[in-house]
């Protein structure tokens, strides 16, 4: 794709609506693959290991991260010319921490069941490197519009890996998807279990998440030529 076509397409989009320009679209699409926060930047691995045992948990976690990252990005971006640079990290922390507490309280009030399952991991969104990373690297230097898109893109990039890992782990670890038994009931030995199939208990343990993420990185690098490093 040459620069000329890129410019042409950019002209087609109205000048007053630059939100969906080609450059801005890349803010959403890049983190999904070429610049994925987990598989390429290797950020936010900690939570990817912890809450990918079940798909439902991974999904609610992704939504929570989406909210925190998008809101954090926009707020920081709006304040970017006011925040004194000497305390900018503290300001970012305070804003992220408050958003996380807000998410936690809302989950507790309205989706109590899920909030119980996610327990401490919602609070740990604060320590997710993706969030501070995007605030520091992007929101501090860009307008709210692009910051919003960057937030959406990165949290989707985080979310789809999380859910992909959770699908694999829940299927092989407990034979389920979203809590529904796909292979029969392991406790009474019906379905596949009646002919001797067993759940892989290793899948339930955190190290297996690391291996699954590793396999995803391997597949991604073999398909995506941009990621192959020159030696």
């Amino acid at each position: 794709m040459s620069e000329a076509t890129a410019e042409l397409q950019e002209k087609e989009v109205k000048k007053s609506e630059p939100l969906f320009s080609k450059k801005n679209k890349k803010l959403i699409t890049d983190p999904l693959n070429d610049d994925n926060p987990i598989t390429v930047q290797v950020l936010g691995i900690c939570s990817a290991l912890a809450i990918t045992v079940q798909v439902k948990q991974a999904f609610v976690m992704s939504i929570s991260v989406l909210f925190v990252l998008v809101a954090g990005n926009v707020i920081i971006s709006l304040l970017r010319n006011t925040i004194p640079s000497r305390i900018r990290i503290i300001v970012q922390l305070v804003i992220v921490a408050s958003l996380v507490i807000l998410v936690d309280q809302v989950l507790k009030a309205f989706v109590y069941d899920v909030s119980k399952q996610l327990s401490v991991f919602v609070g740990l969104i604060i320590t997710n490197c993706i969030i501070m990373g995007r605030l520091e690297a992007f929101a501090l230097g860009n307008k709210p519009g692009p910051a919003l898109l960057d937030g959406i893109g990165n949290s989707l990039g985080y979310g789809w890996i999380l859910i992909a890992v959770a699908v694999v782990r829940e299927f092989f670890g407990s034979g389920k998807f979203w809590g529904f038994q796909l292979l029969g009931d392991s406790s009474v030995g019906s379905g596949l279990y009646s002919i001797g199939y067993m759940n892989n208990n290793l899948m339930v343990l955190p190290p297996m998440a690391l291996i699954v993420v590793g396999v995803i990185i391997w597949i991604q690098r073999s398909k995506n030529t941009k990621l192959i490093e020159a030696h």
Partner: protein, 253 residues
């Protein structure tokens, strides 16, 4: 603008304003959401109490079913003496005031008392349930798991010896391991176990390795969840012990 944005004054001013604004917003949110959260907790407790006698209800129907099945709520002291008996509507702080609220056995926060009070000062609630013509006695309990608190209910049949059902829950036990104490795979083992031996002495139900269904005083622990299993074992024994004098009196009467 004459303000120096890198100056110390501006930095302090910014920090102070930010903290006040954020603090105000968060406390507003917390206060606004508190009634919903409290209601959730109350309904969850009702749901858990009912769940321990095999009445599975949705959270939204917990309250109605609780009124229907739980006929009496009793509060004991640590020696098994009755402090209070209540039936009917659960006392709420808003409707009935502090004293009535405190006197209602449903409102005893056993988790808080377990954390903060010596065992002799704690109050012990007991719920009496009428289901399918049977009288069931539901004992709530709280203890320690690997990472945090665990709690649950054990219900006894009207011989005050045989376990009718049990359910447990936890705050932060390891998913797939200790967290399995809240699955029916684990709790179903308690059914028909007994808390008194042949001589009529109190013998708790221990959670241990490779216990079989034949032993009425043991259930099989959770592989990879040993510390949680030991916690359940300790919790069941310590709590049921307190109720033994009351049960013996009730049987004698």
């Amino acid at each position: 603008m004459a303000i120096n944005k890198e100056g110390t004054g501006f930095t302090f001013g910014f920090a102070i304003i930010m903290v006040v604004v954020v603090g105000a917003l968060l406390s507003l949110a917390a206060m606004g959401l508190k009634p919903f959260q409290k209601e959730n907790l109350k309904q969850e407790q009702m749901k858990n109490i009912l769940g321990s006698v095999g009445i599975e209800v949705e959270m939204s129907e917990a309250s109605a079913n609780f009124d229907k099945f739980i006929v009496k709520r009793i509060m004991l002291d640590s020696d098994g003496n009755v402090l209070n008996e209540k039936s009917g509507q659960i006392a709420t702080l808003a409707n009935d005031g502090q004293d009535a609220f405190d006197a209602d056995p449903f409102n005893v926060d056993i988790k808080k008392e377990y954390r903060g009070l010596a065992s002799s000062e704690r109050r012990y609630p007991l719920f009496i349930c009428e289901k399918d013509g049977q009288t069931l006695y539901i004992v709530p309990m709280v203890g320690k798991g690997l990472w945090g608190p665990i709690w649950g209910f054990i219900s006894l049949k009207d011989d005050l010896n045989t376990v009718y059902g049990a359910n447990f829950d936890h705050k932060t036990e390891t998913p797939g391991l200790g967290a399995e104490i809240n699955t029916s795979l684990f709790t179903d083992q308690f059914k028909d176990d007994r808390i008194f031996d042949e001589k009529g002495e109190f013998t708790s139900i221990a959670v241990k390795k490779s216990a079989t269904g034949d032993n009425p005083h043991a259930v099989d622990g959770i592989t990879g969840g040993t510390i949680t299993s030991v916690g359940v074992s300790e919790m069941v024994e310590r709590t049921l012990k307190v109720y033994v004098p009351y049960f013996k009196n009730l049987k004698a009467a």
